[in-house]
């Protein structure tokens, strides 16, 4: 009877010890399943929260922050296109092909897997009310991170329903595709409507 108990104990002890010794190999062989590969994109206001600028004046500078998190399983190379549109140009959504507006500028950056990057962006818009038509706002420039870009062919028409001139700055996320060797739209964008006070 004592032999039987000792035998069982020895076998259990050997099995446990074998499992313990084999643990580095088991760790290598059993890979944790990764459910979904995606990228998070969020926009934050000047105080790093969801308080966004809305009522702005010409030449008023405001800072936005982009939080981008990489869940793609490896290092990724991103690009954020900065675009501007008025109410007539605005589409409901850019999921799919993205906007056909040409970008004013862009920000490029790399993020390691499971890491988040916060990118600051300072913007100001320069505009004046049209001399002959007070219901028309003529855009002149947009200043992004101290670089002034000319956008003087764009105008904004007075919205009588909402009582204001409205412009939309939006940001599209593009991801570098190693196989195609080009940036591809990642189906993610964030947008901010601004009431542009004369």
């Amino acid at each position: 009877m004592a032999h039987k108990h000792f035998k069982a104990l020895l076998l259990v002890a050997c099995s446990v010890l074998a499992l313990f010794v084999a643990s580095p190999a088991i760790q290598r062989l059993v890979a944790s399943p990764h459910a979904e590969f995606f990228t998070e994109l969020a926009i934050m206001g000047p105080y790093h929260n969801a308080t966004y600028p809305y009522n702005i004046q010409s030449n008023e500078n405001f800072t936005l922050y982009f939080d981008v998190t990489n869940h793609l399983g490896s290092l990724a190379y991103y690009l954020i296109d900065i675009k501007f549109q008025n109410e007539t140009q605005a589409k409901d959504s850019f999921v799919g092909a993205g906007s056909d507006q040409s970008p004013l500028g862009n920000i490029t950056f790399c993020i390691a897997n499971s890491k988040t990057v916060e990118l600051p962006l300072s913007i100001s818009l320069q505009y004046t009310v049209d001399n002959q038509n007070s219901e028309k706002l003529n855009l002149k420039n947009i200043t992004i991170n101290s670089s002034t870009l000319n956008i003087d062919r764009r105008t904004i028409i007075w919205n009588s329903e909402k009582q204001g001139f409205f412009g939309n700055v939006f940001f599209e996320l593009w991801l570098f595709n190693d196989t195609a060797n080009t940036f591809e739209y990642n189906q993610r964008y964030v947008s901010l409507w601004l009431k542009m006070n004369p």
Binding site: K7, Y77, G105, T108, V117, N145, L149, N150
Partner: protein, 159 residues
């Protein structure tokens, strides 16, 4: 005489304008090619850092350099879009110089990661062999003890 003077003045102004135009075109072209160079270099470095990461190396410090270079490149592109070609050129050259040596660092990390991975593989193989041996010892002991138990039982019966 006056006509010649006017003609000379006119020619001088035209030459001056052409010179300015040529300089502006040259500056623009210079900035564009510098930005393009920085973009290509950034892509090459990104691919190398990615390879280093895939081989299991810790690439955090390399990503910091990549992001510095990418930030300078973005600034260069914005400066080019705003027509400040000299600033664009300056930023893109800074971006290029920031990437200097990154390829070598990435390759070093790849080599280290490969050697570490080989070491890990050896440990894995060793752990598999050891665990098999432990299991065999366990099973062997079980068999020996069973035989001994049987022998003892038969002996006591014969007695």
């Amino acid at each position: 005489m006056k006509f010649i003077k006017v003609c000379a003045m006119g020619t001088l102004i035209v030459i001056l304008f052409l010179g300015l135009f040529a300089f502006s075109v040259f500056a623009q072209g210079n900035a564009s090619s510098s930005i393009s160079l920085a973009q290509n270099k950034l892509l090459i470095c990104y691919e190398q850092v990615r390879q280093a990461e895939a081989s299991g190396a810790n690439v955090d410090s390399l990503i910091v350099v990549l992001n510095d270079a990418a930030d300078l490149l973005s600034k260069a592109q914005l400066a080019e879009a705003s027509g400040d070609y000299s600033l664009a050129n300056n930023y893109s050259e800074q971006s290029l110089s920031r990437l200097n040596g990154l390829s070598t660092q990435a390759n070093d990390l790849i080599e280290k990661a490969i050697s570490s991975s080989n070491q890990n593989l050896n440990i894995t193989i060793l752990s598999i062999i050891s665990s098999i041996m432990i299991l065999l010892i366990g099973v062997g002991s079980w068999i020996i003890l069973s035989k001994k138990e049987k022998k003892d039982f038969n002996g006591s019966q014969a007695f």
